[in-house]
Symmetry: C2
Subunit: 336 residues, 2 copies
Amino acid sequence: MTTISDVATHAGVSIATVSRALSNYGRINPTTREKVLTSVGALHYSPNRSARNLRRNQTGVILILTPNMTNPYYASILTGISDTATLHGSAAFICNTLDDQDRTIAALDRLRQHQADGAILLSTDTDSTWLDDYAADFPLVLCSEFLPGHDIAHVSIDNRAASCDVMRYLLGLEHTRIAHLSADNTYQSTLDRLAGYRESLIAAGITPVPEYVVYGSPDYSFSSGKAAAQALLDLSEPPTAIFCISDTLAMGAVVAAQEAGLRVPDDISITGFDDVAVNEVIRPQLTTLAQPCYALGVTSATALFALIGHEPTPLEHVLDHHLVIRQSSGIKTVRV
Amino acid sequence: MTTISDVATHAGVSIATVSRALSNYGRINPTTREKVLTSVGALHYSPNRSARNLRRNQTGVILILTPNMTNPYYASILTGISDTATLHGSAAFICNTLDDQDRTIAALDRLRQHQADGAILLSTDTDSTWLDDYAADFPLVLCSEFLPGHDIAHVSIDNRAASCDVMRYLLGLEHTRIAHLSADNTYQSTLDRLAGYRESLIAAGITPVPEYVVYGSPDYSFSSGKAAAQALLDLSEPPTAIFCISDTLAMGAVVAAQEAGLRVPDDISITGFDDVAVNEVIRPQLTTLAQPCYALGVTSATALFALIGHEPTPLEHVLDHHLVIRQSSGIKTVRV
DNA sequence: TGTATTTGCGTAAACGTCTACATCAGCCAT
DNA sequence: ATGGCTGATGTAGACGTTTACGCAAATACA
């Protein structure tokens, strides 16, 4: 294990000079600097981060907490965060929390232990109010979700407006019996999308039917979406359109409809949410509301580094969304 | 920021005593220990990891390098690794390398910088021979893949035997025109599966047809699988079965067959590989060769901690696989 | 009672880096 | 020649832990 003093000896200078050569801080003769860098190369020297972090009191590491990293929705977000971290000379390490509070807390405690400079949380329940304690002491950014009324920085789209956009589209296709396939969790996005759904119906003069709001599993699983959609199709007066709050749930709904002998979109329209890449796998391809995932990641990381650097940054960042119309939706037709 | 000496002052003891109370090392009076722990709680003290790591010369962190973390194949592997790391009192941080060599090297350099104790690599090209330099100096384990002829610890299934199992099954269904949908990468598993395919054909007295071996993209993308399968179906004498080396490729093949007006499995049999969870999304459900993903993760991590602790561990770990027969395969029928 | 052992705790020196300060050589202006 | 300046480098202390060592008190044993 070669240390800075090995390099100093090899180059015939003091450790202070080596440090200056490497960090380009303070005065140093360019010739000396070259000599030191040559020694660094010859000895394959890398600074010991533990020592550096201890001395500098910062780690060059940010943590990304995700409940389920294989959710394709996260792919671009993670890339956006990583790219931004690299730009700031930091590393982005991902912690798989599996939605387990102990694991989440264990990961966040790394902040208190000076093993990371800040953290970005992907997905936050509205009942995770204990987060305030961490946000008060450490740089923290919530991505995609947020806790209304709490002073924690967050980045997301306007889920209620996005929901209204989906509804405006479906209503424009002359659908009136529109169901909402939600999820059994307390994410703010879930609540906002439901609110947008209800508002839009009422604004269109349609009385919301309680039976038309059904719930998939908290993690939007395909099978739960399929089961919930089956319940909708079994109603005496089934909907002609299903507005699903995730693409995976929508895939489940498509399969449920197909197994019930319905053609999508001829007999029933189904829309998703997020526009994840695996959408290409299912036929018909999903009409869905696209989130700017890469930008969500970049914006979250940028906000986090602002917090770490004690620079001003708004508490709330709202990014644009857009509707992507594909094959799974169409104008309402009379069921044969 | 409270330090060990704050705790010492609060508890009325020396910092050495606080350290002993926390690490449970050396002699300490239980009463004193309690007193210290009370102070620790009162002051919300957490040890500074940088300082501890510097002193102990170990970090309690292992790195997982993945080219594409949303690949569902990795989900259980990652969980297996994380669980094992927790058991060893370590944290498992994931680095998204996006198959980029610079990012991979940057991540591995964290080992040299004393910011991690070891690393597990998910997916390794057979041309990544530069890895030897790292493996010689640091604890490294390759999971799923490996570099034949290199002294780097690895954990995987026997891909050639697994490939033969798939072929035995398809041959047993009386298929003789069996195609192999491979991937355009240099993973050892890819080579082994191809070898098993060829061997099985020859052992069955069937002459391999070069046109029956086609390639999807290096990362097994759905669309590349679909395109490659279309090429197979366009042959003057198309195969009656397609053995795909990943589930995603198989999904592409299924869609290609369906779009060509073929029924799966009545007109053509299609098999996948890995048995990823998203399989439930596609109909018909895939017959596939299941890898013991969680066990792969656990075994990799266990081997890594053995290396870190300088305990003996075999260089090669081979885990069991098994064939899962579902709906996408069936006995060969004469095409109409 | 005296000696040997055990127990509990404090002192101080490391771990490898950064950086304020000191030092020193060279230069210029007086 | 003297003093002041600048630039380049070295010295040494700090960051927060851990832990070898030493010492005093308590205990054990004769």
